[in-house]
Amino acid sequence: MEDVVIAILRSGTPLVYVTLAGVIAQRAGVWHLGLEGLMITGACATIVGIVLTGSVVFALLVAVLICIAGSVLFWFVVEKLKANQIIAGLGLTGLGLGGTSLAIQSIFGSQAAISAPFGLPRLGAAFGAYGVLSVLVLVMPVVVFLCWVLLCRTRFGLRLAASGEHPFAARSVGVDPSAMRLAALVIGGALCALAGAELAAGSLQIFSQNMTAGRGFMGFAAVIFGAGHPLWATLAALFFAVVGALGIRAQLVFGDRVPHDLLLGLPYIATIFGVWLSARLRGGAKSATGGFGELRDS
């Protein structure tokens, strides 16, 4: 049992971080399809940073700063150059996936997986069997709680949501929706960096190409499933992690009797099911305005 819980926390924690980034963006009116790109950038920067400097703190700092820079670029393209959010987001994802490959090629001269001598600090013996988990797992519930407070219990959160749902209402009380989106994307960039760091250095201490394997998109699906609410979206992310862990379990139980690929695909199937279910239950996500932000300006 313990090992299942550990597996869920390991795969679920990066997913929760990236989902929170998506939730904040969604509430501010941005359909954030660049999550995948930011997440892998965070993963790459963390491992490369540890390898090159030998300092985890420094590596994390670099990862966070690079992801924030990527988010600012995304904001600039969407808000200032008025590009379509979906296209720009997919572009950011492409930039992250390709850019990280290019980075390790140019730094290490090969595209093979990079392993670091050590990863993020572990919880240690005091936590028994759970001691193998990284500190970011323990911090995760705190971050979720802080996000919830920020989004649902402060005026900042209300202004963020108004900027996404009804930009004109925000402008009417003197809030600049564009600035709110910048704030949302910067916070989201930092969270994506943590998601990538936990994925690459939380248990594996390895960076390899495309290692995020669609987790950014899964996080985005969790945003939709959770209707843009930080707590519901977190639960959705953990649900996907549970399905993934059960898939691995099922492999051990069924062996060759069930196709291996089908079981590996379970989280993705669950994602599609989840999005369909949320559409059925709620008639869609909390509205991000999808590039038509000012449409309601009469």
Binding site: T154, R155, L158, A162, H166, S172, S298
Partner: protein, 519 residues
């Protein structure tokens, strides 16, 4: 009037241009404090732009705005709000998923972190103090328009507002709702708040305002004049200007809301024969786009204009959607010109004589990025087989002659529809929808946002269609317009038809039916 020192708001030489269009032209005006001021004018006169300049939403290209003797930075909402200016928009600016308390909080100051209970307590007290009977925990989207407006006014008063601007506050209200609003405004005046009302009905101006100022074509024509010194006729002339001559007396009164409306004395009764449209017990399947119809019985005879009155959002759109096959009919039957079309497609219904001038001219009526000739020919292409060959040059020629016949001002049929003014865009739709084979014309808010000339043009076109034997369904939230044009008026409330009236129309009785005050 008095000097600027005493003025709550003073504008000097304010001008706003949107591209080639001058929305405000060199407006200089000062409003004394502690009064109720009305700013009136027709559509396109620059009233809303004026309100937005004063509240900091629009930066003037020229000129200065002073609030309480203090110059404020143009185009800065925070600066204007600090000076005590709050604007209540025509279409309310409240996020629909917010609770009332959240909608208050997000524009307020103080109390950084909150719990839901504390938040609702805080704002319930505020609502109670203003006598707004709404629960602070209710979601905005569940409120009626009158409640939303009350909440929006309460939101505007979360800060220490000294100048409250209401942009066309009565446009969405029933006559009864407007009366309550005016009582609220008078109470605010007693509390020392200066109120600036943007209006376009003379009747309302004379009922509430201390002073009146008239805008026409972006220019200040006169004001602020003491409202007690001016009568409805003089005000109507100021508002309409030189084009007043082209309007018949009744139309003129309807346009400015000057007189108590009476309604058309119909010389021509409806023509005998099968009704052009007949709904029997029609209920629609509930959907996200508005209240469903509930057991609606409704008939339009050839040669009559039936006005659909009601507070917006009471099923008028669903009625139009049900007839034009955009809403699913769950029960009942629908006939067009004697043919059962309950389950027919839109092109079958059009073949039976249905023509629609839709609510949203720029969304449903036209593809703004497509050329005029494509927009115009969409009507007849719909009637042809899917793979029928199209001859663009022939369509361009036909389109040109049709647009010329309808007096559309355009450069060439290849220009995008979005490049036309509102009035000309509406004429393109009229030229498409009002052909000889049409039997039922649905005109949904056909004059919304149009200037005087275009409004009169649309009215004339609808009257001509009626006189030519068409049945017309005329949906409008402007009762003056409905009474002027319609031969018969039905009132919708919550997806039902609750009352029917024949001329002479009585504003009070129709208004009461709109709010359900009378069974």
């Amino acid at each position: 009037m008095r000097g600027n020192d005493d003025a709550i708001l003073a504008c000097r030489n304010v001008a706003v241009r949107y591209g080639d269009v001058t929305a405000l032209d060199d407006v200089s005006i000062a409003f004394p404090r502690g009064m109720i001021h009305a700013v009136v004018g027709q559509n396109g006169a620059g009233k809303t732009t004026f309100a937005r300049v004063v509240s900091g939403l629009v930066r003037p290209d020229q000129g200065a705005v002073e609030i309480g003797g203090k110059l404020i930075a143009g185009g800065n909402v925070n600066d204007a709000r600090r000076a005590g200016v709050e604007l209540v928009h025509q279409s309310f600016a409240l996020p629909p998923s917010f609770t009332v308390a959240e909608a208050m909080q997000f524009g307020a100051a103080g109390g950084a972190l909150y719990t839901r209970a504390a938040l609702e307590r805080r704002w319930q007290a505020h609502l109670d103090a203003l006598d707004v009977k709404v629960s602070a925990g209710a979601r905005i989207r569940t409120l009626t328009v009158e409640q939303q407006q009350a909440v929006e006014i309460a939101r505007a008063l979360v800060t220490d507002a000294r100048l409250l601007i209401l942009d066309e506050p009565t446009a969405v209200l029933s006559p009864e709702g407007a009366k309550k609003l005016f009582e609220r405004v008078r109470r605010l005046k007693e509390r020392g708040v200066t109120v600036l009302l943007i209006l376009h009905k003379i009747r309302e101006v004379l009922a509430i305002a201390d002073t009146v100022s008239v805008l026409r074509g972006g220019r200040l024509i006169d004001g602020p004049l003491p409202a007690s010194d001016i009568d409805a006729d003089a005000l109507a002339s100021l508002i309409i200007g030189p084009s007043a001559k082209m309007l018949a007396g009744e139309d003129r009164a309807a346009l400015t809301g000057a007189a108590a409306p009476r309604g058309a004395e119909t010389e021509t009764g409806p023509i005998a024969g099968p009704p052009v449209v007949s709904l029997r017990g029609v209920s629609t399947r509930p959907d996200a786009d508005g209240p469903a119809l509930q057991a609606v019985d409704f008939v339009v005879q050839p040669g009559e204009i039936v006005g659909i009155a009601g507070v917006e959002g009471n099923g008028q759109r669903t009625l139009v959607r049900a007839i034009s096959s955009l809403a699913d009919i769950a029960e009942g039957s629908l006939e067009l010109a004697g043919r059962d079309v309950t389950n027919a497609t839109l092109s079958q219904r059009r073949a039976a004589g249905l023509r629609v001038i839709p609510f949203e001219r720029n969304v449903e009526g036209l593809s703004l990025t497509s050329p005029l000739w494509e927009n115009w020919s969409a009507g007849q292409l719909l009637a042809r087989p899917l793979l029928a060959a199209i001859s663009p040059s022939a369509l361009r020629r036909e389109c040109k002659s049709a647009l010329d016949a309808w007096d559309v001002r355009y450069a060439e049929v290849g220009q995008p529809a979005g490049s036309l003014s509102g009035g000309n865009a509406q004429k393109v739709i009229l030229s498409r929808e009002m052909d000889e084979s049409g039997k039922l014309i649905i005109a949904a808010q056909p004059t919304r946002g149009l200037d005087i000339g275009a409004t009169a043009f649309v009215w004339d076109a609808l009257r001509k269609a009626r006189d030519g034997g068409c049945g017309v369904i005329f949906v409008s939230s402007d009762l003056d317009e409905v009474f002027d044009l319609a031969d018969r008026v039905v009132v919708m409330l919550s997806g039902r038809i609750v009352a029917e009236f024949r001329p002479p129309f009585d504003l009070t009785r129709v208004g009461a039916a709109m709010t359900g005050a009378r069974a």
